[in-house]
Symmetry: C2
């Protein structure tokens, strides 16, 4: 059973569950992946903790993981990129594997861009500052991230997406994606799970939420049905 | 904290979570409703149990409810209409209130149709045969349900919706809704949570998934913030 540590944010969690079902080959309810979800958004803000030394979300996340384990989960997924700043700390405190969202994106990047190249990263200020993608993506990827006023705008638009103002957010995301393309990005990672709620146009986009769903579905197929993915 | 007994089916569960977030007034993640979800679709088929005396889903549903309670849920919702055939049996075995999906639809019907009238019911054969709506809706509602070949087609289309073949399902749902309108329905309840995955056109439709989300959101506002809904 998969445990989903959600609530960061709650709509991104629902989006992840939808993609998880879409990415699982199953013709009846009963063949779908059993999932337990802890979507308790009363978790301190992740970017603020990274950037300003705000209250750490680690204890709340750890409590969620322990609840999922107690319910019978034997692997976990966290549909929030910024939360992966605490990946090592979480992984060290549980005996469940946690499927890493950047590894999932790397799988997708290998399919899309087999050669070395430039990858645009649309992500929160916390994710960028913490180097969550930089430290884990293959060295062949040269990361380009928005900065200055663009990053301010992106953060504001992430807030709009969280608040359900999707069209307003989409316009900003589209402008930022265009800026990354102009700087030579050959693929653009939506490296914050709020962005796919209002995805900008373009077939060069990689959805981290969907990539994580694909990785979870492979885990399920291998562990449950004994099917190599 | 709300406990969601899901997995019937898994995509309907994701749809419910999306609507739950949309129906909750919150400007930050932290003000959203804490939710725990048990979405384990390995539950015997509900319609088959009602119609053919197939294996009862009650033990599996009861186990899910107990898990939600153990995680700290203090109310539960079940985004599956047919599962409400076992509502009394479940409610008798837990100390949590279970927010009934038909009561949620009744709230919405009262707003839309304050006078007595004819209400179309698009629902599974199990829901119709068990009289789940008939026994719980106010007496002022005269229910009209599809029968014969229409009900066969509806059941097939519910399967398509579960399998992600949404456009094929939507065409059938639209035809059945038109049939109910021709019989005089003044409002039509999508009384199976797979139907809103591929909703037919029309502003006379009432979405049972969304209605349940509204009811849960009111429960949260009253119980958590002390706000009367």
């Amino acid at each position: 059973m998969l445990g989903v540590l959600g609530g960061m944010g709650p709509q991104a969690t629902a989006d992840f569950l939808r993609k998880l079902v879409e990415r699982t080959a199953a013709d009846t309810d009963q063949r779908h992946m059993p999932v337990v979800v802890w979507s308790v958004p009363q978790i301190p803000d992740r970017s603020r903790a990274i950037l300003e030394g705000g209250e750490s979300p680690l204890p709340a996340m750890l409590r969620g993981l322990q609840q999922l384990r107690a319910m019978g989960a034997n692997a976990a997924a966290i549909p929030c990129n910024t939360a992966h700043h605490w990946y090592d700390a979480l992984a060290a405190r549980t005996d469940m594997p946690i499927l890493h969202i950047v590894d999932a994106v790397a799988d997708e990047l290998r399919l899309r861009m087999p050669e070395a190249g430039r990858v645009g990263l649309m992500a929160t200020r916390g994710t960028i500052a913490a180097g969550i993608y930089e430290r884990r993506l293959p060295g062949s990827c040269r990361l380009l991230a928005p900065d200055g006023a663009d990053l301010d705008d992106l953060m504001e638009a992430v807030g709009w997406a969280k608040g359900g103002h999707l069209e307003r957010a989409r316009t900003v995301f589209a402008r930022i994606a265009d800026g990354l393309r102009a700087r030579g990005a050959q693929a653009i990672v939506m490296g914050c799970t709020e962005i796919p709620l209002a995805p900008p146009p373009g077939d060069d986009l990689i959805d981290s939420t969907d990539a994580l769903a694909v990785r979870c579905s492979k885990w399920f197929a291998q562990s449950h049905w004994g099917v190599a993915a």
